[in-house]
Symmetry: D2
Subunit: 143 residues, 4 copies
């Protein structure tokens, strides 16, 4: 299974008065993971948007095991765990960089839509982008 | 089932370049819903913290049906859907205020812990707060 | 001088590990103040955008006197303090609702531009919106 | 004058419906710049907090020249521009990484206080940290 690691240094603005990273920011980090995942495949998410295709979320979830802390770097290990028609699912592991401890795990599910948020057909994706998806399917027979 | 509605007017800062509210902010809204839910029961979450008890998330999730838009008010309809020992679960509906359309649904699961994030025993909760939980249980026999 | 008060209840997500509201969120609150200021004049900012005109910031600033705290309501008292050609300036006071204590003060300066961020001429503003600006000028001879 | 560059890749969550980075996030970036500035001097801000000293803002400001865009890396070029007694001021330049274009400039002013937000005397700062400040003064005679 193909995975990509994005490094994030938790910001002071992301802490809360419990003294840990606020739960909602993990979802912003998942987005960074997703963005770097696409980049690692040679296709910036930005390009997709420039082709008139966006990828809004239909579902998201997170399990929190141990708190992430201000300034202690984490890895967002991102992979694809669902790909059928115009639906695409990602899986994320949030790992403390120093010792690899698993802090949280999450998922997001997306649909390819046009800029008016209407579902598109698979064929409307550019050839280049479909090549990326095909490569993912080759690497992960289960997809 | 006891529910409380919190009114939120989506902020410009919460929009993204798709022209809709960014997915991660729904979790900040759930927190507002939770906060107002406690207040409606006569027990501000702040009080709980002052008693040395905090309520971090162990899980969160959201399903997005239709996008929320800048400046179009939404209701966060909050209820408790799990309560066993020191674990407490909330359910949220995000409704467009104007016409009641369901835009999203979410859940969060929490554990009562002390300020060092250690689990506490149920008896360590204040009498007043336990009275609140007991009242919820009475109202919702399934809890 | 015409002013409008917007009520904000500081969110848990807006706190940081100092136990107070994080400095950057005041700017999100100023935006809420601005939005409610326009609404109080009968012209939602949303309408302006629908007419193809946006109002990005060219400057912003804030002085912090006392910290705002989680759950303790504040008022954002908003007024216009500059209006010349296509430049518009706002002034904000952040007041603790309970006792009126001044917690912070801020300013933002804006330029009317079209959706490509190009400056527009004053005459390109709709008649309705110019009527609003004229009324502000009448109320505040110094503008 | 000693400066440090922090690299930031603007996040999707930081965009707004104008299609650019929302004005308030620049202040979160300034904080990242500050954090990396301290680190570059061999003294993580975290350490300072562990010694019971925090550095809240008393003022902040920003001038916006050109919008920062999603995914287009920026540098936060941070330096100290004020240092007297227990007051410390920072200056930030936001530069587009690709071509060095200046997108925005900002300032923040801080006071060293204890964890109860009470001002401290200069001597209460640890020797190590005072050594850092002394070194800055040597490098920048004007401070």
């Amino acid at each position: 299974m193909y995975t990509n690691d994005a490094v994030i240094r938790p910001r002071y603005s992301e802490t809360d008065q419990m003294g840990v990273i606020y739960n909602g920011y993990y979802y912003m980090w998942f987005e960074v993971g997703r963005s770097e995942f696409f980049r690692s495949l040679g296709y910036a998410y930005k390009q997709l948007e420039q082709e008139g295709i966006i990828l809004p979320l239909t579902e998201s979830s997170c399990k929190y095991y141990k708190p992430a802390m201000y300034d202690e770097e984490v890895l967002i290990r991102t992979s694809v765990d669902y790909l059928k028609g115009i639906r695409l699912g990602f899986k994320y592991e949030v790992l403390r960089k120093e010792d690899g401890e698993l802090l949280a795990e999450g998922k997001t599910l997306h649909a390819f839509v046009d800029s008016n948020l209407k579902p598109i057909r698979y064929k409307m994706l550019s050839e280049n982008f479909r090549a990326i998806l095909d490569k993912l399917r080759e690497d992960q027979p289960g997809l």
